[in-house]
Symmetry: C2
Subunit: 158 residues, 2 copies
């Protein structure tokens, strides 16, 4: 088979693979960036919650400085404006996101859930460096804010 024909086949195959990848995700660049951004934010939430949770459960020793830093990080993350995250067409009916359609159907409720997290993390940041008991007491509402929002607005991770 001539080289040119092989090249054409290879190009066609590459284009088909690219089309399939696109068809598989069904997302525009704007949509994909929004999904990536909100998943990055959840990753950072988890990174900081994880450190605090380990102290709350006494799997690692309480460290006032580390606790205060993680709590301040959570409060900073919760303050981030999410307007550009919730682009139409990026709910769990497309691949790669567990965002329930309820987010778009009930944006007011979803916004309120985020505001509850912002309030709880701000309260936690105010006391996280004041000892394990103070931190534990303020950690509860943060965990609850996470759980309530995940329950209503996120598809479980099976």
């Amino acid at each position: 088979m001539p080289i040119r024909k092989l090249t054409m086949i290879a190009t066609a195959a590459a284009l088909t693979a690219a089309s399939l990848a696109y068809a598989g995700s069904h997302l525009t660049q704007t949509q994909q960036r929004a999904v990536d951004a909100r998943q990055s934010q959840m990753q950072l939430n988890g990174f900081n919650i994880g450190a605090l949770g380990a102290m709350v459960q006494e799997r690692i020793p309480y460290d006032a400085e580390a606790a205060a830093a993680a709590a301040a990080n959570l409060a900073a993350l919760a303050s981030i404006d999410q307007t550009r995250y919730w682009v139409e067409g990026t709910d769990s009916s497309v691949e790669g996101t567990r965002a329930k359609p309820e987010i778009w159907a009930d944006m007011a409720g979803f916004t309120a859930a985020n505001a509850a997290l912002a309030e709880a993390t701000t309260d936690l940041a105010a006391v996280a460096g004041d000892g394990l008991d103070a931190m534990k007491a303020a950690f509860g509402p943060v965990g609850k804010a996470c759980a309530v929002c995940h329950e209503v607005y996120r598809v479980p991770n099976n």
Copy 2:
């Protein structure tokens, strides 16, 4: 072949695949989480810088509210404590990160570069909603802070 034997083979194959994946990354869970967290933060920086950059370059119309939100987001992100990001053994000698060894060799310089970004983003957030000219003027130092830090502390993306 009996089912039990097939199951054992499948389990062995899965374990081998898991070991190879681990050997490929060379990272402990703590190291991997740190790399994921800092990459998430860079993703969010890019998401917000991208929106502002498009306005600065006039590829999209200036939008005071959107500009103010993106700038505030950048300032919030720059305020995040990065103590747990720079775990030993997570420089560009391992797969999946472009963090130069210079970060660890010159942590004071790196911290100062991050402080410069925090200052520039705070300045930008103060004026980003005050019109395109004001935003453009304050955007310059943010872009410079990004560029300087990438040049010195990050392997180029080839």
